[in-house]
Amino acid sequence: MSLERIKIESLARVEGHGGINVTFDEGKLKKVTVDIHEGPRLLESIAIGRSPSEVVSLACRTCAICTLSHRYAALRAMEKALGIEVGPKVQLMRDLMHCGEMIESNALHVFLLALPDYLGFPSAVHMVPDYAEDVQAGLRVKRFGVRLMELTSARPIHGENPVIGGFGRYPSKSELLKFKYAAEALIPDAERGVEILRNMRQPNYMEEGMTFMCTKPAHDRYGWVGDRILTSTGEEFNGWDYRKLTNERVVAHSMAKRSRYKNKPYMVSALARFNLLGERLEAEAGEHFRRCYNLSWIRNPMYNNVAQAIETVWALEEVPRLVDKIIAIEDDPDICMPSRDKGAGSAAVEAPRGTLYHHYEVAADKVVGADIITPTAQFLDMLESHIRVAARNLIKEGDTDDIELKLEMIARAYDPCISCATHLVRVKGL
Amino acid sequence: MKALKLKRDDLYTYLESLKSYGELWGPVAKGEKYVYARLTNVRDVALGALRTIIPPKKFFVPPRFTMFRYTDDHYAESFDDVKPRVLFGLHPCDIHGLLILDELFLERFPDPYYKRRRDATAIVGLSCIPDDKCMARSTNTHAVEGGFDLAFNELGNNYLVWIGSSLGDDLVRLNLDLFSEDIEPEDLKTYLAWRRKRDSRYKLSFDLTGMPDIMELSWDSPMWNELAEKCLACGSCSMVCPTCNCYNVRDVSDLTLNSGVRERHWDSCMNKEYALVAGGHNFREARAERLKLWYTHKLKAFITEYGKPSCVGCGRCIDTCPVDINVAEVIRGLTGQKVTL
């Protein structure tokens, strides 16, 4: 069979609009591109001239799935710019809300978006007749994540409760305890995802070595927030040097910019986090990690699905620990006020799909510079590369049945977030 | 009516006893304001509370509630949240507000949703000292003769407790030992002094005589357009007014499509769609027309019908409207009277 062109107009079961385009020249693979046709929103340029708090509200609108990661990164960057140091309760509450998002996004991806691929269904709804219990388990975990986001941020998506300097309102002790007990009870459900994926044969036609990066937690436990960046090349950077790491550029087939490190594609993701920090995982999550980890994890992006499943277990185990600490601090702190009205700040947090950078410059209480670099923008080149390898291998072996699906699965394993990726731009002084 | 005395110090003990009748609710602080909230801890009650954000009407016509649950074409009445309650701490103006709602909801075609909630609720009044937004003296709603089961009145180190109904008598018997019947001449003096003090505190006062005629004559007054230009049509005034009672009804289907609820929720005549009918004709398109209707209801219609205004002088519209449109402003505009704010 001779192929002329493979074109996946619009990737399904991913957030945002992207496609895959593979072209051939006389039967030989010519070009592989991941096209991003989501329209540009130029959100950073909208930020210019607005107040820091408006920009935080704007920043989280970059993306609905990782809304709280964006909000978290924006808050941290803004607080650095404005000279605000928040207290421990605020910090713990933010970690709790971050857990909510990780649980929500990872469970959505693992159970509803990725599993149908492994089990051969077009969607999770189609899985119901045969895998009702698993779909239900996935929905329960995801529902918990959504509720936790709602509790901490005021609504499931774009909640406005986390503000610069603190929170509008703190949940009551009894609300928090309800979530603590619910999290404990849900661990077996989350483990179901790990079990199913562990027993699946991971396709390997795309394997290729990768460079990984992730945020180094401020403490020596597993975590998602810190001021330094780790790379699998053994280096460590300051978060504010993120531009050296990401080196963005524009390509013609994409409304999203692309990043490279030392002119090579790299990966950020749960897989990156596990490759770099996996040994730090405690309790059940740690057990699962050690059971599942193997050397393919550094070559095969499909293991990102497994990593996300295990990370969900970790986040559920983390919720009770956080709740106990939050409850121990009785008084709700007032919102911290800025100590200055100008400055610059960068911050990195791990979004479910990888490292996310926000950077702002503020002068006279107005934002004058803004830069957001999303995980998807960073790994698009790596993703494209894996698809190229896969297309080459599959064609070489004449294994071209369902080739679209096979390529799409790789893209999906990255859990890309395309609407995020289309507004990742530095803008200064408009 | 019978009057008893209760020591101030015994108030909390008595409030605790009231819980055996039903849920105890009373004013508690919310920021700088007050709201009626469940008193799980009786010491949460704000005894010096001024007006609550929403008047007690919320207990009898909740902002939103289910009238029926339906399945296919079968309707089942829903009185889910009707339960015995004691409302403690209603000021006289709010009790008058309820008496006005009673006229609307309990007279012709009694409304069972209102009636059941009203029947299940004991009203315990509490005297108050007005602030600069109270106008109850002008509306003659600063004191109560009825409309309560018990009414507490400040009396030095005691409360003077009026029993207003046989239910009130039962409530007293929940902890009879706390009450005493010996009211002494000294007490009357204290009571009268307290009344003088209260009456002297009304900063707002005006004359409502002939208000219907004045409204009629001012129908085309430019004042209405001036107010309309400022009015945000936000509806806050109607939400907080103890005698505003308009509502909408809508059916909300379950996703299964064959069952659902018929629910009722507060509406406001300040809402643009309020008088919109099929075919797109709107009887009160202009904000000025809607404002006129609001104030007609307060200062004209009810007087014509019942001989008293349906404004009870609680001051909530004064406290609430962001652009200072309120009953005092309107009266001032209509009559040229000096209404000091």
């Binding site: - | 069972p112 129908w219 018929r262 219609a301």
Partner: protein, 277 residues
């Protein structure tokens, strides 16, 4: 206590189209005793309730002189009406009422009557028309003037054609435009028909009008020209209603509620109550 908001089950016995968007509905309480004991007056209305769609007020088009049935004539405009149009014969619908004051029949008896109808105004006034015809001997002279936009849009065409043949009333029908040239009667505005009104004793006449809002002004002017006293000029009004029993507030006009104190008003009411029309 009975719940006045609870709809009563009635069976939809007959329905057919009157025009492209107006349909005739005949309904009957499921309980036959109730059907026979149901009392109402021309000019009153009922709330029709369809679970999932909601409720809306509709004038009763039938006459109490023919008990056992209720008839409505309804234009499809929104939620309730759309749902109602889907209901088949023999299905059950919710109805409550009757509500409103209705026409002051006690005062109208023995008097001359003049009814003027435009468009959908036929819905409430058909009730009065049939009532007078069924009790013809109790009333004096009787004029019925009816205008529609086009022949196709005239409601109850067949019924009115038959009534026109009767010699115990003066019935005149008109249409604004007759494109096909097939209309056998007058073509022009309903006010043209006043030229056919003669020999009424104005002091002893009740004149009733119902139709689109724009029509009232002109028709009332004609009534006054005839010398009919203002308090004997009657009309039915429309307002938004969510309850029908003076609770929801939407139909309030000054101190009155259209649903309780109306929907029938006299021209005198209109004059002394601002905001009525």
């Amino acid at each position: 206590m009975t719940n006045p908001f609870l709809p009563e089950e009635m069976r939809l016995v007959r329905r057919y189209d009157l025009t492209s968007d107006v349909r005739f509905f005949q309904v009957r309480p499921v309980d036959m005793d109730r059907a026979l004991s149901l009392r109402y007056k021309p000019g009153q209305f009922m709330m029709i309730s369809l679970a999932g769609a909601g409720e809306a007020p509709f004038s009763i088009s039938s006459t109490p002189s023919r008990p056992g049935m209720l008839e409505f004539c309804i234009r499809k405009v929104g939620r309730v009406t759309t749902e109602l149009f889907k209901r088949k014969e023999n299905s059950l619908i919710g109805v409550r009422g009757p509500y409103g004051n209705g026409f002051p029949l006690e005062k109208m008896i023995g008097k001359d009557n003049l009814i003027v109808v435009g468009g959908l105004g036929a819905a409430p006034l058909r009730s009065l028309l049939l009532y007078i015809l069924d009790n013809r001997d109790k009333f004096g002279k009787f004029y019925f003037l009816h205008g529609a936009k086009t022949p196709e849009e005239m409601l109850f065409r067949k019924e009115f054609f038959e009534i026109k043949e009767r010699d115990d009333l003066n019935c005149h029908l008109t249409v604004d435009v007759d494109e096909k040239g097939q209309w056998p009667f007058h073509v022009g505005l309903v006010t043209d028909l006043f030229s056919k009104v003669e020999e009424l004793d104005p002091e002893n006449t009740y004149a009733t009008v119902c139709g689109p809002p724009a029509m009232y002004k002109f028709v009332i002017a004609e009534f006054l020209k005839l010398g009919i006293p203002k308090h004997q000029v009657l009309m039915t009004l429309e307002r938004r209603m969510h309850c029908g029993i003076g609770k929801c507030g939407h139909c309030a006009i000054g101190p009155i509620y259209t649903c309780l104190d109306g929907p029938v008003f006299s021209y005198w009411d209109v004059l002394h109550m601002k905001d009525l029309i």
